[in-house]
Assembly symmetry: C2
Homo-oligomer: 490 residues x 2
């Protein structure tokens, strides 16, 4: 191992940046703002994809693929969408390079200018609704429930691995419905899937809510979101689901003939999560020793490290380990046996701690004699010597325990950093200290803007699951009917 990670308490942001690179999740590339997702990081992303894909398909969605490029004019079609998305984006203007006549290498061929510039998709509503126009004629064609796994590009000036990159990977669902009610139900269903996925699969507790008008997706009538709390008390939006009304149907003229033979505009939703979730994963569970992975997301859940002198001892241990491995695999447990002779056990211990492998099994000559192994938990850093007999059951049970322990730990953290506040000075102090502050708000964008200007806190969401409560806006004192969540955010 090289030097230690920066501690979270010293510099949380530096800790994050170092950890992402050193745990082999991702790194910056030669292209400003674009990252390379390394094999270990990508393997975690693949686990997320597989589970989400399964959940989407189980709820009747199909995958498809739409073009990377969108004609520039498409962005002008939906008035508010153009404001939100047609600004910072990658513009393709030419389709050919050539060798420079004066030997300057490769240059853009000025004769190969596109008549209409193409935009690298920042999100695909426009090109997809242009396509849906041909797919939807009658109520029989509805609902249309399609998802796309894709890369998207949003030019960003200040980027951070996973959290904010010019290019990122995501899924975007785009559905079409015959009625407002059905579309709203779809948007809420998908929010439920995201929430279930975050909590049960990623062990990240989230709050489901609605965005205020000023934080809404460009072109949406309502934006639903899930918000998670990071270990520095800041909020991270982990997924959004939009009820788009008939905005895109009107912009792209998508109508259907109802059962009664009437022509009606179609109702829409869109919803997405991205590689940003990788950032949420790191910042929710990891510690000063490195990554901590929930067993569901770990590329390998158990690593076995042999402790030996000489080939003969290694052979004996390997034989035993092979047997243990097959018993673990038979239980569906992902296990890796690191028998490389190029690295010492101590180096391997530190390496797998850094990479967040949930359980480490070490086996040496004494263990061979006693029919035991040393079993170490990454989440609690605790160790115990246990018998090889029945090890597979113990490991399976421990993996479940770790998964739920991580969720509970994150819930406890959120609880202990969530506050209510009814007083402006108190509110400011609490925001400054970090965490979620539940406060009354008068419902105006103006007040929201002023609070943001004074505290850097935004309204993360209007929580869906809460009791109505009469109160007074923490800033203006005007009447309010329920609390919203304020926090600084990623």
């Amino acid at each position: 191992m090289a030097q230690k990670l920066t501690k979270r308490s010293e510099d949380y942001s530096k800790w994050y940046n170092e950890l992402v690179v050193r745990a082999d999740l991702a790194e910056n590339s030669a292209v400003r703002g674009s990252m390379v997702i390394k094999p270990y990081g990508y393997a975690i992303w693949e686990k997320m994809q597989a589970e989400l894909d399964r959940m989407f398909k189980e709820t009747g969605h199909e995958n498809a693929y739409f073009p990377l490029f969108i004609p520039k004019s498409f962005f002008s079609r939906e008035a508010s969408h153009v404001e939100g998305f047609a600004k910072e984006c990658a513009v393709v203007t030419h389709y050919r390079l050539k060798n420079d006549d004066e030997g300057k290498g490769v240059v853009v061929d000025p004769d190969a200018r596109l008549e209409e510039e193409l935009i690298v998709r920042p999100t695909s509503e426009t090109i997809i609704w242009d396509t849906y126009k041909n797919w939807i004629q009658s109520y029989r064609d509805l609902p249309l429930k399609i998802n796309q796994w894709a890369n998207v590009v949003r030019w960003e000036m200040r980027t951070r691995l996973f959290l904010r990159t010019a290019e990122f990977l995501w899924q975007e669902g785009h559905t079409a419905h015959a009625s407002r009610e059905e579309a709203i139900e779809e948007a809420e269903t998908m929010l439920g899937i995201y929430s279930e996925f975050a909590e049960n699969f990623m062990a990240i507790p989230v709050i489901k809510g609605l965005k205020t008008e000023s934080e809404r997706f460009a072109g949406a009538e309502e934006t639903y979101c899930i918000e998670a709390m990071m270990q520095d008390g800041k909020a991270l939006q982990a997924g959004t689901s939009h009820f788009l009304g008939q905005n895109f149907a009107k912009a792209f003229d998508v109508k259907y003939a109802s059962k009664e033979g009437k022509e009606e505009y179609v109702w829409a939703t869109s919803w997405g999560v991205s590689t940003r979730l990788m950032g949420a994963l790191v910042m929710t569970h990891s510690d000063d020793q490195g990554l901590v992975l929930p067993p569901n997301l770990a590329p390998y859940q158990v690593v076995i490290v042999p402790i030996y002198k000489g080939q003969e001892q290694l052979d004996q241990i390997s034989e035993k380990v092979n047997e243990i491995q097959s018993r673990l695999r038979a239980k569906g447990i992902r296990v890796k046996f690191d028998n490389r002779d190029t690295h010492k056990p101590g180096w391997k211990f530190a390496e797998y701690e850094l990479k967040g492998v949930p359980l480490r099994i070490a086996m040496g000559p004494r263990d061979m004699e006693n029919n035991t192994v040393e079993l170490a938990r990454r989440d609690t850093l605790s160790k115990e010597v246990v018998s090889v007999d029945g090890l597979e059951d113990q490991v399976a049970a421990l993996l479940e325990e770790i998964q739920s322990n991580l969720l509970n730990k994150a819930k406890d953290f959120r609880e202990s950093h969530s506050y209510t506040s009814d007083d402006w000075e108190d509110f400011k102090a609490k925001i400054e200290a970090g965490g979620f502050v539940w406060a009354h708000w008068d419902g105006s964008s103006e007040t929201e803007e002023k609070i943001k200007a004074e505290t850097k806190a935004t309204i993360r969401c209007i929580p869906l699951d809460q009791q109505a409560e009469e109160g007074k806006c923490v800033y203006t004192g005007a009447p309010s009917k329920g609390r919203v969540i304020f926090a600084k955010a990623y």
Copy 2:
């Protein structure tokens, strides 16, 4: 059903274009040369991906993700690569749009010009080797065996769905090795995987071979390929695997310290297959009635259509069908029950024939009485009435039979359209008629070029598995040591 498909014998090319659209595989988009892969087509592609991904991982490869954009200057680094790839490609020159001052809508912001243009990747050797430079220091870091699933863009003037599109989906493997021998072995291993996948999974027989110098990948020392024969006798290159020598290591200065402590350049391979395989799939198996899918690739392998009058009959049939469905699913068979009341059985029959579902089960009131169903095979268009008892075993066996029947049929077709020729006039006539012509060639690019100019046939490959045979070049009469395969190609 709308009107019939154009017959293959009338216009093969038209038949293909119609079939791809009408079977819901893909369609053209608003972006010239870019296609939309529709859900049914994408579900087939997902099956290909899953199987290939499994095969890659089983042979020790990991997935990762590299940037979509490549700095223009990277293309100048590898001399032959720039010739091959830096020509027809999408060039990003700006990173911002703005609202036009004169109300012309959205325009490119001239102030947001990139210092160095970015190229949308046509293939990723350059950006990946630029990354590998930081990942490889010592022999311990080798071999590095990485695959990427991605979209790529190559500007094409004349495009055809799946066969030639500006944007397409593919996988690209990029490996780094300590020795020439190991890299060559990797290139050959991957060719073997492609060949096994094509034959055993897609039921497409292929010939493994080497490309001639003029057909080699830009930057490769050797290009291996698999070549398939379509039903019009033309060849389709279904996959390539390149031994890149040390070309990219030298261009991007990637060296490693050997066990002996010497600095050496790394040896490389790259290999890929793309959504082009969808075109090969269609053109190998399908017929004048529509798509014919090998069971391995069929989104659903069996469709069940009820034939009924009134809700009561449908309820009775549905109950029976539900039981049949669970027995089929328990065998791992993908089955769909189409009980929509918006379409008649005859419409459904035609629809699933067009979409190539391998087996169709129909069940009506008479079947209910007799405990039978009608079972129809898509590949042979034959039908029989069979008992419901043991249906799941019969279906499982039939699916296997269909899978191997399709491969055998395609092999027979290839055999009957493969010729040897030792005479120039005979050669020209055979090329004109269509098929593979095995002929002697003197090994010169000049001769190859002349043959192409006179016949439009190219050397598809120098087959790997063939006996050495002395002979004379069919064009020049100069000596040759073995036959190569000539054909017109997609």
